[in-house]
């Protein structure tokens, strides 16, 4: 038990309160899901129950990683990147000749996360967007199949940037900048990013279910409505505005910019990934998470919010970057 004590003793109180709040919200969700069949007999709430059950597992994994620090988060997100990239490259149009390119794409994961573990931000920043970007098409050229060359190169680039580079920013956020004054530690910053992004998804879903009427993206994602988008935006913006000062060293204009842009980025990530899934002809990227689909279905908005949150917090609040 001494180990458990150590894990909790070194934590910022705000982080523990934050995690407690998430558990309270989940408990409330369970209560609502039990109450709904009573209020609306005959309705099918299987998906809702599955979704909530899966949330417990995801929250437990993320909480454990946050409490164990940058090592835990780096390990967890390396796995998340791997599963997301595997899901993407298995569905995206990739040619028979590209089998070994798929294999080398996975190698970007250990390299990128090694740079995070070594705290080499500069290396991390350029590795995928510049060098993997150049090397992948070159390797494809060496293999020699030129049919659909450019589209395939773009497919690989999209997959590696979203699944490896952009998701990696969550772990990069955990590299505690020495000497920075952080209200709830590095884990507090990552917690706010994850909580706001997922709360935005949930708020959009709930507002849409309750009041959704006007379709916002009829051809890409027919279930999304203006009511869901705007309700989710306002909810998440208020959440970020009031909880921001507790978790990140940003306030005033900087915090307002984060509060206003992050929910839009989450929506954009969701819609963009939906367009790709519609093009491929699937609804879910896999069946790994009951009620949600694949890891990429769950992390689609995070691939957009993670870099944005990182860069805005770094610009407005951190002297290191």
């Amino acid at each position: 038990m001494a180990f458990i004590d150590d894990v909790f003793a070194g934590q910022a109180p705000a982080l523990l309160w934050g995690l407690g709040g998430v558990l309270a919200a989940l408990t409330l969700a369970v209560a609502v899901s039990r109450l709904l069949p009573v209020l609306k007999p005959g309705g099918d709430f299987t998906n809702l129950r599955q979704r909530i059950a899966s949330w417990w597992v995801m929250v437990a994994l993320l909480a454990a990683a946050l409490l164990t620090g940058w090592q835990g988060m780096t390990a967890l997100f390396a796995v998340v990147s791997f599963i997301a990239l595997r899901e993407f490259l298995s569905l995206a149009p990739v040619r028979r000749e590209d089998r070994l390119i798929v294999l080398t794409s996975y190698l970007t994961i250990p390299v990128s996360y090694l740079f995070i573990a070594m705290d080499r931000y500069g290396f991390y920043l350029v590795f995928v967007p510049v060098y993997v970007f150049l090397l992948t098409p070159f390797l494809m050229a060496c293999i020699g199949q030129t049919r659909h060359f450019l589209t395939t190169a773009a497919t690989f680039h999209w997959g590696v940037v979203t699944c490896v580079y952009n998701l990696g920013y969550v772990a990069m956020l955990m590299r505690r900048p020495e000497g920075e004054m952080l209200p709830a530690g590095a884990a507090g910053m990552a917690f706010l990013l994850l909580m706001a992004t997922e709360a935005n998804d949930v708020a959009q879903y709930v507002w849409g279910k309750l009041f959704g009427r006007r379709k916002i993206t009829p051809t890409v994602s027919p279930n999304k409505t203006w009511e869901g988008f705007l309700g989710g935006w306002a909810t998440t913006a208020l959440l970020l505005w009031f909880l921001g000062p507790v978790f990140i060293p940003v306030s005033g204009i900087g915090l307002a910019v984060i509060a206003i842009t992050l929910p839009v980025a989450g929506f954009a990530g969701d819609v963009t990934m939906s367009a790709i899934k519609r093009d491929i002809g699937v609804k879910d990227t896999s069946a790994l998470i009951p009620g949600h689909g694949g890891v990429l279905d769950r992390a689609d908005s995070l691939t957009f919010t993670a870099p944005l949150f990182f860069h805005l917090v770094a610009y407005f609040g951190l002297t290191r970057f």
Partner: protein, 219 residues
């Protein structure tokens, strides 16, 4: 033949080593898990593109059924050399089929009959060999003869999507890519060989049509 003195060892190895490996390399999505047989005698008939097929089909069963699940496999390939032979018999748990001796008046299906008579769940790849992972080859009728001999055995069709990309025929390096096993509703022998084979093919094609596009872009 057919006896597992090391049954617990096989189940432990499949659960602790094979299952995590299958998860890492394929994601192991199973659609229609409720259609899987829970007891033998039963036949699983699946398409075949890769050694990964056997791994996927074995690891989708719960540990309590796993002891009964045995894949039919080519004796000429899987009983080659003492190490391979030991591994095939004691870990994969194969029922060896002497496919080279088919059509020579010898009953190559005898070991499978024995397994079914003992109450095993037998996995059969009716294509007889690994294909390219795209189109289904001509189905061999041995599965119909087995179903005829064991009319009480349920026949469950299973379509394996994507395994041919993880480790295609001839490749030695496995590449992680998501695979999906689509399990269909079981059916049984109804008295006619051609109708049985046509029914099996139709069921497999129907499962294939529902599979996610986990295939090569121009395959």
């Amino acid at each position: 033949m057919g006896q597992f003195r090391m049954g617990w060892f096989r189940i432990a190895l499949l659960t602790v080593v094979a299952k995590p490996l299958a998860r890492i390399f394929t994601g192991c999505d199973v659609l229609g898990r409720e259609h899987l047989p829970t007891q033998g005698p039963a036949i699983i008939a699946a398409n075949h593109a890769s050694h990964v097929d056997t791994l996927l089909l074995l690891t989708m069963f719960p540990a309590r059924t796993l002891g009964r699940v045995r894949p039919a496999a080519a004796a000429d390939y899987f009983l080659k050399g003492p190490v391979m032979s030991w591994f095939s018999r004691n870990v994969i748990g194969i029922v060896p089929v002497e496919r080279a001796r088919a059509g020579q008046g010898q009953d190559v299906l005898a070991p499978l009959r024995e397994a079914l008579a003992a109450g095993d769940i037998v996995i059969i790849f009716p294509e007889g060999t690994r294909g390219d992972g795209e189109a289904m080859a001509q189905l061999k009728s041995g599965v119909a003869r087995l179903a005829e001999a064991f009319p009480a055995a349920s026949v469950t069709p299973a379509w394996l999507q994507g395994a041919g990309r993880v480790l295609p025929k001839g490749a030695s390096i496995p590449v992680p890519m998501n695979c999906t096993v689509l399990v269909g509703e079981a059916f049984a022998w109804a008295g006619d060989k051609d109708a049985f084979m046509e029914g099996l093919r139709t069921r497999l094609e129907a499962l294939k049509a529902k599979a996610p596009p986990q295939r090569w872009a121009d395959g």
